[in-house]
């Protein structure tokens, strides 16, 4: 071992050049593909950025500001921001949705931050206290708060209300349905199967049409439900069926030994389910449950078809606003709505991936 100096590897095998060679230009086909893709990106991204940022109009209060622009019309969004976030909620009562938003954000942050203490309490509070408080604050009529009828709820507020109610109600309902589907009582099992298969086999639009056109016919003379309540019932039942399938997968994945062990310990059906089976089953399918929640959040946009002005509805209604009519305003609005939805759903899916990672930590070698 004398005198042999170490030679460094060839320049085109390490560092940036090496990475490029291995990942982008590893073969002729790959190189051609890389060049084509780079050309495609160069052809689409700069005009897009140009339209959205550089040629866009950022300031202004009237349509005149945007009428000559070749880019996005952002003042249109700023002007309508109130409607986008609150819908048609009474202007001077907007502090009420603000409180609801703030409480929701705090609760979610508590649940999501890994080292926050007492997550169980936060979960329970979020599922029971928070809906009550939000209901009282948003609709009013209690504690001297003026009533704000549900027709005035709109925009992001309505989207979050529908999504939250859908998620909160469909989870326990779905669990019950899944348990019922695996029950040994034939009547219960058949009913649950029929319920689940019917709701899963029809599009959500027909379910919403049922809520708006058909449900009033089935209520007795004199009893009328608020249109929003009817839509919420339909959404909750529809999502409960999908949730039931996800939970059922978790129940199936659990070995029979768990139930047998619980029976050996003398625990009855419900106590065994609540203490032994469900905690494990839900943990197994937690990522699936969060995926379901993402779908639910996206499906809330369908209420705009039956006449609600949720986030998408507000943007669509605004696209023909007398004051802002312009080819760019419609597209600006849609892109903005898409960005908001994407932000919510992507965060949820990242959280789900993280959950999957954490829960699988015990299985990794």
């Amino acid at each position: 071992m004398s005198g042999t100096a170490f030679r460094s590897p060839p320049v085109h095998h390490v560092g940036a050049l090496g990475w490029l060679r291995a990942n982008l230009f590893s073969s002729i086909a790959n190189s051609i593909l890389t060049v084509l893709i780079l050309a495609l990106l160069a052809w689409t991204i700069p005009p897009l950025l140009n339209w959205a940022i550089f040629s866009a109009v950022w300031h202004g209060t009237t349509r005149a500001a945007c009428s000559d622009a070749a880019g996005a019309c952002w003042p249109y969004i700023w002007q309508r921001m109130g409607q986008i976030v609150y819908g048609f909620y009474d202007f001077d009562q907007r502090w009420r949705p603000d409180i609801v938003y703030a409480l929701g954000a705090v609760g979610l942050a508590w649940l999501v931050i890994p080292r926050a203490p007492r997550k169980g309490w936060a979960g329970i509070a979020l599922l029971t206290l928070y809906p009550l408080v939000s209901y009282v604050l948003l609709s009013g009529g209690w504690f001297g708060l003026p009533v704000v009828s549900t027709e005035r709820w709109g925009g992001l507020l309505l989207t979050l209300v529908v999504a939250a109610v859908g998620i909160v109600v469909s989870l326990p309902l779905g669990i019950l349905l899944a348990l019922g589907r695996r029950s040994e009582l034939p009547v219960v099992r058949t009913l649950c199967i029929v319920f689940i298969e019917v709701w899963r086999g029809v599009p959500m639009i027909t379910v919403l049409f049922i809520a708006s056109s058909m449900l009033p016919l089935f209520l007795p003379d004199g009893l009328e439900f608020d249109k929003l309540v009817r839509a919420l019932i339909a959404v909750a039942l529809f999502n409960a069926a999908y949730m039931a399938e996800v939970v059922r997968a978790g129940l199936q994945a659990l070995s029979r030994g768990q139930r047998e062990g619980a029976a050996a310990l003398g625990l009855g059906y419900w106590r065994a389910t609540g203490l032994i089976v469900l905690p494990q089953a839900l943990r197994i399918v937690l990522p699936g449950i969060v995926n379901n929640m993402i779908s639910m959040f996206k499906d809330t946009s369908l209420v705009s078809i039956i006449g609600f002005f949720d986030l998408l509805g507000v943007i669509q209604a605004g696209s023909t606003d007398l004051e802002w009519s312009n080819p760019n305003t419609a597209v600006t609005g849609y892109l903005f709505a898409a960005a908001i939805y994407w932000a919510f759903c992507f965060s949820m899916s990242r959280y789900s991936a993280k959950l999957e990672n954490d829960l699988a930590a015990g299985d990794r070698r």
């Binding site: 349905l177 309540v229 919420l232 023909t320």
Partner: protein, 335 residues
């Protein structure tokens, strides 16, 4: 499972138990619930602050004044063309004041009761000026845009069939969509009631580039509607409308009504409640018509405020003028 469902329904119910008697409900609520369009300039349109204006809106306000003497005791509930009838039948509101055409099918088979015509209209077509079209008969092969849930689809089908012309029709659920499609050039002509077209034209990018063709292809008597089976409420609503028309016929306007209180004319005295107990017959105070005209004006004033010469719509009275002024607005006498 089912019990959970029923319990859920009960828990979530924001229900308000309504009796079959609408007037009692309205009195209990303290306001009139009025089903209006989602934005029809001249008839029911909210401005940027959410204040509603238009002929249909003023009519509902008139009913509110008749009952409560306050034109603001109304809650306006926008509803789409497709859902207006089911919402009315479901009891979501007390009056549907929504440019609804009075047809036999709706009156007889769909459980509605029309209480009169507030605007005599007809269906027309709107095209771009650049197409140089002078009549609807030149629309052979055209693509039409309209909204779903209206008589427009059926009338257009009848017109094109009877004249043996080819056409394609696109129906959209929402007004915003149908206007956007027409404006983008997806279709050659937009078709609905002429008053609706006049309002839609204002929502286009360049209203001056579009014209309404002179043809009227159907009868569209637009009027408010209520649920079938409520006689007292129907009478109240009907005679509110007739009071407005009678007031214009008798020359009673919001400016002159106070002076007219001392008028010797028996017709005016009966209208304003100085003679007879007509208000009491409706369950209202005898000066119900006086209060309506004082707060809102007569039919002519409402028309002018909504779609008259001072508005962007500028619709001439035409058929909607009084019967003795060249139109067909005619109200039975109050006696």
């Amino acid at each position: 499972m089912r019990s959970v469902l029923v319990g859920l329904l009960a828990l979530l119910a924001l229900a308000s138990a309504a009796e079959a008697n609408t007037l009692d409900t309205v009195r209990k609520n303290g306001f009139v619930r009025c089903g209006v369009s989602e934005g029809q300039p001249g008839f029911s349109n909210p401005d940027a602050h959410g204040n509603w204006t238009g002929i249909d809106v003023d009519y509902c306000r008139a009913v509110a004044v008749a009952i409560f003497n306050d034109p603001n005791k109304v809650r306006f509930m926008p509803v789409s063309f497709a859902e207006r009838f089911t919402a009315l039948q479901a009891g979501q509101f007390d009056i549907l004041s929504h440019n609804t055409t009075w047809t036999m099918d709706r009156d007889v088979a769909q459980g509605l009761e029309f209480i009169g015509t507030i605007f005599y209209d007809g269906q027309g077509f709107m095209v771009r000026k650049s197409l140089n079209i002078k009549s609807a008969l030149q629309l052979n092969g055209a693509t039409l845009c309209t909204q779903t849930g209206t008589t427009s689809e059926l009338n257009a089908a009848d017109f094109f069939r009877s004249h043996k012309l080819q056409y394609k029709i696109l129906v959209y659920q929402k007004e915003a969509e149908y206007i956007a499609a027409y404006d983008a050039g997806r279709c050659d002509a937009a078709t609905t009631d002429r008053s609706g077209l006049a309002g839609d034209r204002l929502k286009l990018k360049n209203p001056a580039d579009h014209i309404l063709l002179p043809d009227t292809i159907s009868k569209e008597p637009l009027g408010p509607a209520i649920r079938q089976g409520d006689q007292q409420w129907g009478d109240l609503c009907r005679w509110t409308l007739f009071a407005l028309v009678n007031a214009e016929e008798l020359g009673v306007s919001s400016r002159t009504v106070d002076a007219m209180l001392n008028s010797p004319s028996p017709e005016i005295r009966r209208l304003l409640g100085k003679e007879g107990a007509f208000g009491a017959e409706l369950g209202l105070s005898n000066d119900w018509a006086y209060r309506i005209v004082k707060r809102l004006g007569n039919y002519g004033e409402i028309y002018e405020r909504g779609v008259g010469a001072g508005t962007p719509l500028k619709l001439p009275r035409g058929l909607n003028a009084l019967w003795n002024k060249g139109g067909i607005m005619y109200a039975p006498p109050i006696r």
